[in-house]
Every structure is written in structure tokens, then in C-alpha cells.
């Protein structure tokens, strides 16, 4: 193996070579390289991101040495962007690292087209009005943004993208697609070819549980007018029937069948999540449609025609107690069906492409294959503009959290993080930034927070006095540990967005560093 491949081995096991290639192609821009920004980039540079551009107009001060690992004594008085960039380059020479000594706030105002060259912008420590402006610029240019902010013992992470579609969402737990209660002809024939009542005990305990369950379901249906158990009593009866067929206590295949028998009652057809995607307006494709939506349109046709209400079969089965021969043969039955479904899907994709005037082979077989394996796990993430959320957050959600015993502190921080920006706009400093003015700042911040709640329509919601005082105590400090945590979360979302794998967060994540009861709030 080549050295980079060995170096990235532990992450290739997560996002594979496709994911790695996407990272290596991406160009990312960081706004402000305090500890929050620096730590975010560090995690991406280690993973081999294509290129980084660090934008920061400030010089390194003594205070920075206490919270940012990427600067040291020799950096004092130098451009922070330059020092951070140099250290990051040291971590991975495969990354193209550049810096621009400029205040991001200035770039947002004077050079909005600057941002359109990047795959993704990581915007750290921005105040409200700059966030809103940048959000509009990037939405227009179709550039993804991850906002990250550390503030004392709190902070936030927010993703903003018009639309992010995921084929390989790789969820942790997902019910296998075995079609046990809806076997296709070849699976039926395979099951019939196996004698489940074989007298040889060794053969008996090596029949795969999939075969046992399909057979049982069929037997039951024959004696019950063609239907499967529906009531709890009937289900238990079937379970008892299953147990009665065991001829030895050591029959692991029957134990697996009993453990999996609930799969017989899983609902057939399309889940409501997938139905929503199939019915999405974007599934009505035109020449501007992305490959994802073209394939969704094809999927819709497949479900209506060949699928008979089902999606293409994934075709993989988990390990189960079985003889090698029966397992391998069963595997072949599933794979053959998956291959047939894939071929049908490929035709639909080609037709769809033709219909919108594109080259019918412009979506690769490989991509269609991956799509077929993941149709039940497709994800479409859409994000409100920051402005929309700020002007009209989901009131019921916000109010629920504000009064929730566990998460009222996180919700309070959400409000207060916005209130400190109003404070800064009014008084040119953050509350508690200067030692002598803390008491005054507390009452000023309280007034601003109350008026913000009123503006949002959260009349009657009360913020805890202690929390307001805490925010003033923080004095806009950027603590290293909090920054590393916020930066860690931000970089993880960046990875998901760029690799187009796993599901990125939707909503605003509010970090609660007091008791760690943080919350992702969809507002």
C-alpha cells in the first residue's frame, strides 16, 4: 500500500476511497482563525482536505498564546492567518494551504464574489449581521457554509446549504430488506428446494433462518386464508409453532429465527420518509436536475412498474447459522434479484436522462448501483436561511425548550447568544468584556434579551437571571477546550457535507458547557 493510503487507513474504513477523493478535491475557506477556526481546520487538514484558505486580519497577541495551539511566542505581532496557516501546513504537506491577511467582515462587505470559488466556507466568531450577509452571499453562489462560534462556556454550530442530498447515509441501525413476508418467485423456489423437516440433525440445524421463516409464513398463510398473523395472539402462536419445530436445544438457526420472527410483520413497500422524497417537487425533473433527483425520478418509475410497490432489493444478507453451501446459494438468490433490479433501474435512469435531453450514459453504472443499494436510506436535507430562522423561529419548538427541565439552559443560551450581538451592535463591546462594567452590562443585556424574546413572540418566556449573569461573566472569552469541542463538531459536519455520506445536522446546535446538556434545535 502507498503511504497516504496507510496514513488514512483508519478513516478510509469509515468513508472509503470515494469519500476520501471528495475530501481531497474540496477547497475550504476559514473566516477568523482563533482557536475555534484553527481547531476546525486542524481536523480537516489531518484528514487530507484538498485546500484551505485562512482569512483573518488580526495580529497575534499575548492572549492568543493562551488559547490557540497554532500560534506561539515567535508569532507575536505577526499576522495570525499566516502563523496558523504555517502550522496547519506542517500537519499535512498534501494539503494546499494559503492565507489572506484581511478581516472577514471587510471581505463580506466589499468582495462578496470572493466566496464563490470555494466548496465550503467555515465562518467562525461572526456576529449576527455578518452571518446574515454571508449566508445570503453563499446561498446565491451555491456554496455550503458551516457557522461555528465559541462564547465562554457556550457556543453554536449551524449548517446552511440550500439542499444537500445523501445516497450513502450509512445509518447505524436499519432493518434488513429480506422480503420475508413478500418473497419473489426465485426466493420461493429456493425455499421450496430445501426440506426443513430433514431428519438428519446436522442438516436440520444448518438451515438458514431466512428459509425457515419464509417457509413458516407460507405454512401459516395456507391454513389462515392466505394472511399472515395480525393479532398478538396469532403472532405468539406462530412463534410457538416455530419453537415446536426445533429438534435439539443447540439449534442456533432456530434461535435466530425466533429472534428475527418480528421481521415477518415488517411493513411492505415504501417508508413514509422515502415516500416524501418520491413525492418531492424536485422529482419532477428537468435539464437542471441533479443526478440524485434524476435517479429518484427513475426510482419512482421502478416502484410503479417492476418493483410492484417495492424499491430495488439491496441484495446483501447478514451472516447467519447455515451450512456454507446453503448460505452461499441463498446469497446468490438475493444478489441475482438485486442485479435484475439494478438493470431495470439503469434503464429507467437512461430514459429519464434522455427525457431531459442529457446523455443517457452520463450517470455511471457504479453510481446507479450504489443508489440501488441505498434507496431506503436516501436523505434530503434542506436548511432555512439564517435570516428566516432569526426572524421567525419555530415558536412552539423554542418555547418548549425554554421551559424544558433538561434543555432550558441550552435554549436560554440560544437567545442570549443572539442578545449579545444586539448588545455589541448597541455598545461596541460584548457584555462583561470589561471588568468594571459588569453590573451595568447585566441589566443592559437583560433588557435586550427580554426585547428579543418579545420580538420573537415568546411573550411570557423567562430567562434565568443566573444564566444572564453567566453570559456576562464569560465576557466573550474564547476558551480553548470549548473551541476545540465546537471546532470538532464543525469539522465533523464539514466532512459529512463534503463526502456526501452520513447525515449532517439540521438545526442549530447549542453547546451547554455547564452541565453538557447541549441541544440541536430545529427552529
Amino acid at each position: 500500500m502507498a503511504e497516504p493510503k496507510i496514513k488514512y487507513d483508519r478513516q478510509l474504513r469509515i468513508w472509503g476511497e470515494q469519500g476520501q477523493a471528495a475530501l481531497e478535491k474540496a477547497s475550504v475557506c476559514l473566516l477568523n482563525c482563533g482557536p475555534t477556526g484553527s481547531e476546525t481546520l486542524k481536523n480537516l487538514v489531518l484528514g487530507g482536505i484538498g485546500s484551505i484558505t485562512v482569512v483573518d486580519g488580526s495580529k497575534v497577541e499575548v492572549g492568543d498564546l493562551g488559547n490557540n495551539f497554532m500560534v506561539d511566542e515567535t508569532s507575536l505581532g505577526e499576522s495570525k492567518a499566516k502563523c496558523v496557516c504555517a502550522f496547519l501546513q506542517e500537519l499535512n504537506d498534501a494539503v494546499k494551504a494559503t492565507f489572506i491577511e484581511e478581516f472577514p467582515e471587510k471581505l463580506i462587505e466589499s468582495n462578496p464574489s470572493f466566496f464563490s470559488q470555494f466548496t465550503l466556507v467555515i465562518a467562525t466568531q461572526l456576529v449576527e449581521d455578518k452571518m446574515l450577509k454571508l449566508d445570503r452571499i453563499c446561498r446565491e453562489a451555491n456554496v455550503m457554509i458551516v457557522f461555528a462560534r465559541s462564547y465562554g462556556l457556550t457556543g453554536l454550530v449551524r449548517v446552511s446549504v440550500k439542499e444537500h442530498t445523501v445516497i450513502e447515509s450509512k445509518p447505524d441501525h436499519f432493518l434488513d430488506d429480506h422480503r420475508l413476508n413478500n418473497p419473489w418467485p426465485e426466493l420461493k423456489r429456493f425455499v421450496e428446494s430445501i426440506d426443513v423437516n430433514v431428519p438428519d440433525p446436522v442438516a436440520h440445524k444448518h438451515i438458514p433462518y431466512v428459509v425457515i421463516l419464509v417457509k413458516m409464513a407460507e405454512e401459516w398463510a395456507q391454513s389462515h386464508g392466505g394472511t399472515l398473523p395480525s393479532t398478538r395472539e396469532e403472532k405468539n402462536e406462530l412463534k410457538d409453532l416455530l419453537t415446536s419445530r426445533m429438534i435439539g436445544l443447540d439449534e442456533d438457526n432456530y434461535k435466530e429465527a425466533v429472534d428475527a420472527y418480528y421481521k415477518l410483520f415488517s411493513s411492505r413497500g415504501i417508508s413514509s420518509d422515502l415516500m416524501q422524497i418520491l413525492n418531492d417537487n424536485c422529482a419532477e425533473i428537468d435539464s437542471n436536475s441533479s443526478d440524485f433527483w434524476v435517479m429518484v425520478a427513475a426510482l419512482k418509475e421502478f416502484v410503479a412498474l417492476e418493483g410492484g410497490g417495492e424499491v430495488p432489493l439491496e441484495g446483501s444478507i447478514p451472516d447467519m447459522t447455515s451450512s456454507t453451501e446453503q448460505y452461499v446459494n441463498l446469497q446468490k438468490v438475493y444478489q441475482a434479484k438485486a442485479e435484475a433490479d439494478f438493470l431495470a433501474m439503469e434503464k429507467h435512469v437512461q430514459n429519464s436522462l434522455k427525457k431531459i435531453g442529457r446523455d443517457p450514459n452520463s450517470i455511471s453504472k457504479m453510481t446507479i448501483k450504489v443508489f440501488c443499494k441505498n434507496t431506503r436510506k436516501l436523505k434530503v436535507c434542506r436548511y432555512r436561511m439564517i435570516q428566516e430562522e432569526f426572524n421567525s423561529p419555530s415558536l412552539s419548538v423554542l418555547q418548549n425548550y425554554l421551559t424544558d427541565e433538561k434543555y432550558s439552559m441550552a435554549a436560554g443560551f440560544y437567545i442570549l447568544l443572539r442578545a449579545v450581538d444586539r448588545f455589541a451592535a448597541n455598545y461596541n463591546s460584548f457584555p462583561g468584556q470589561f471588568d468594571g462594567e459588569i453590573d451595568e452590562d447585566i441589566s443592559r443585556l437583560k433588557t435586550l434579551a427580554v426585547s428579543l424574546l418579545t420580538d420573537l413572540g415568546c411573550n411570557g418566556s423567562i430567562l434565568s437571571e443566573d444564566l444572564i449573569k453567566e453570559i456576562c461573566r464569560f465576557g466573550a472569552a474564547e476558551l480553548h477546550a470549548v473551541s476545540a469541542l465546537i471546532g470538532g463538531i464543525a469539522s465533523q459536519e464539514v466532512i459529512k457535507l463534503i463526502t456526501k455520506q452520513f447525515t449532517p445536522m439540521i438545526g442549530t446546535f447549542i453547546f451547554n458547557g455547564i452541565d453538557q446538556k447541549s441541544k440541536l434545535m430545529l427552529l
Binding site: 500500500m1 483508519r10 478513516q11 469509515i14 489531518l46 492572549g63 447585566i442 480553548h480 476545540a484 452520513f502
Partner: protein, 469 residues
Amino acid sequence: MHTDSDILELEDAAQTCTDVPMVESTANSRTRDLDRLLLRSGHLVGPNFEPSVELRDYLQEYARVLVVGAGGLGCELLKDLALSGFKNLDVIDMDRIEVTNLNRQFLFRLEDVGKPKAEVAAKRVMERVSGVNIVPHFCRIEDKDIDFYNDFIIIVLGLDSVEARSYINSVACSFLEYDEKDNPKEETVKPMVDGGTEGFKGHARVIVPGMTPCFECTIWLFPPQVKFPLCTLAETPRTAAHCIEYAHLIKWDEVHSGKAFDPDDPEDMQWVYKEALKRAELFGIPGVTYSLTQGVVKNIIPAIASTNAIISAACSLETLKIVSGCSKTLSNYLTYNGVEGLHTEVTDFVKDNDCIVCGPGVLIEMDTSCTLQKFIEQLEEHPNLHLSKVSVTHQGKNLYMQAPPVLEEMTRSNLSLALFDLMGRISGGTVHVNGTSIKNNKKTSGLRKLRVVFKGVDGMADMDTAGGA
């Protein structure tokens, strides 16, 4: 917050001494940001929080923190703690740097491969954060005396094995003493902060022995690893992993009589891969690759920089809060999952009052005539202990030591003496035993606290009624 009288006091003090918050917490200080938490009073803080310059000095000058592990979590922990006001750190790790570490263990470079992790990590952090002193220990955690661990105010764990966590936990809990009412004595409580990651998931937890569940109280959170039955490997292989494990566990020994398989030797790994491939072809099983072979044989857990950063930062923040009291702390278990969106959850697990590790100690009743040898044999048969190869200490005195050989020889003669006599003919007391036990087919070393009570000796009534196993 500062009251008016506070400010008056500070102004007075400022004339005679520069060591006051108002003067110190200027923008032009290394502790610019930390000072907000350490010098200012707060309302959502720990019970004994006293904001002051002295508190900051205490963190910087006196508080010694041990980081166990210098890997993915350890590198982050050292950086985070060094930038959270701690200046006296120790780090212990027995491993050397490998190429596969470089995607996340950011203190290491390609030219460091082969060097001890603890030493390189300590050096790199000291180079960048001036004033911080980090002492590396390139050894196994079991190689250190128990007393070594008692010198730290808190122990932070960045480990990837259940056994190692279990060991450190047993050591930290062994310092714990209970008073006559079975309440933990505060000065004997050695807090721990533990982190762990796998892919996009992780956990951070706070363990305050005697107050919160210890690692052993909630051992069920770490279910034992499932192993393939040998008969499946030998007779009915179905998956690529079965073929690989057959080559690794069965075929290797058949062919290489007596030569142990070395997972770090690429030639050995290549041999297993080729054998697995042959077997897979024979049975028509797809999917054997070199990468999968390594993954199965070495039980590789996928790891990335971002998750380690998140978990280490949470652990470091909790460490700062526990030591300084500057805010409330996590109670007591945080999970993070970034696979589908983002989920964090805090769970307040409850302590197992009968825990043999953090509880008041396993009660053992003995005859006064019982010899030390007999006592040691009893521990092997004890239903809750199953300890073998036991070393015994009482109030810091070695009664019997298995190793090193010099100590073994010195203490061997004690074996034939009565434990009652060795303990100074008292009615009973706490004895520490260090030995190995077999759990889930794995040997684990552990330290256990036993409450020995001698039958028929006065003054033991209070011990009889005390809890314990």
C-alpha cells in the same frame, strides 16, 4: 458577580500588591480568556468555588494531572489541558508511533514513526505552550507503583481498551476510604475523567469514586466482543471474516509450529491474507481483501480526528471544572453520535452500592489462626473475586509480593505466618490485594480492597454491620 465591597477591597489591595484580579485580567495576558472563569464569581458553579488569583496559581503551580494514553485522545487531551491552565502534566503510554496514527494524532509527524508516543507528545506540547511541564512515561500502566497514581489530583483517561480502563479504575478506587458511617472520606477521593471514541461516536464521563458509579459499576456499558465459534471457522465458513479468522487462528498454527503470529509483521499479515483468499475461493465466498484482513485480525476500530477532538475537549473541560469548581460538572455520562445528524445525551447513571471495586470493600471473615498463604488461596476461590497471583499489602506494608523477585524473596517467609499477627493483632482492617482474574476469557489485572474481620476478636461489631459485598 463583584459587589461594591469587593471592588473597594480590590482597590485597596491594588495599592500594595499587583496580584489582584482587576490588574491581572487585562487583554495582554496569556490567561486573558481563562481569567473570566477563574477570577470572576459565578452562579452556576461548583460548591467550593472561590474565584481568585490563588485559584489560578493553584492550577498552574500545584495541580498535577495524569493523562493515561498518548494516542488519538491523549494528544488532544495534552493540548487541551495545557491550554486550560494546567502546567504540570504527566502522560503514560506504552506504544510507539505508527503511520496509521497520523490521520488524527496531530502531535506526530512521519519522521516520528517508531518513537515512543508519550515522549514525542510531551515534547511537542512543551515546544508550543511555554511554561508547561509534561513528564512522559513510556511504559505499561501496570509497571507503575500504585503510589505513582496517588500523586495526581485527577486522572484523565484516553484509552481504547476495557482492560486498561478497568485497571486504572481499580487503582483510583483503591485510594478511597470510608468513614465509620460508610461515607467516602473526601480527601481519599481520586476523580477520573474518561473518554472513548469509535468512528463518529464517542462518550465522556466523570467518575468520582464513592459518589458516582465507577467504571466497574457500569461495566455492562462495554459488552464483551463477540467471537466466532471455532466450528464455524473450521466447518461452515460463510463470510470473508470467517475465512480470515480461519487462516489466522487455525491454519497459522498448523503450518507454523510454535511460531507466534505477529500482527505487526507485514509478511505474517500477507500470509494470512493469501490463505484466507484461498479458503474463500474454495467455498465461493466473496469479499476477502488485505484491508479487511488487517481489520479483522487486529480488531481495528475506525478513528477520525474530529470525534477525538470533541470527546477530548469535553473531558478537558470537565477536568478544569472539577479541579477549579468554576462551573457545574457533567453528571455523569455524556454520549455523542454524529452518524445521523447530531445527538448528544447526558445520563445520570447510579452507583452500585455493592460494587467490589468502589464500595467499602469485600468483607472477608477469617479465623485468627489463618495463615497468609491460606488467605491468598481463599481469594482464588472467592465467588466475587476469583483472584490469582495475588500480592497483599496492609497500610502500605508489603505482606507478600509476587514480583519483582527480590521482593518476593523478602516477603515469602510471611506466607506461613498468621494474617492476624501480620496485621498487628487487631480486630480487622482494610487489606489491598493486587492480582489477575479471568473475565470473558480475558486476563485482567486489578486491585481490590478487602475488609478483613477476624472472628472472635472484640471491637468488630461496627464492621459487621457495614455494607460491602
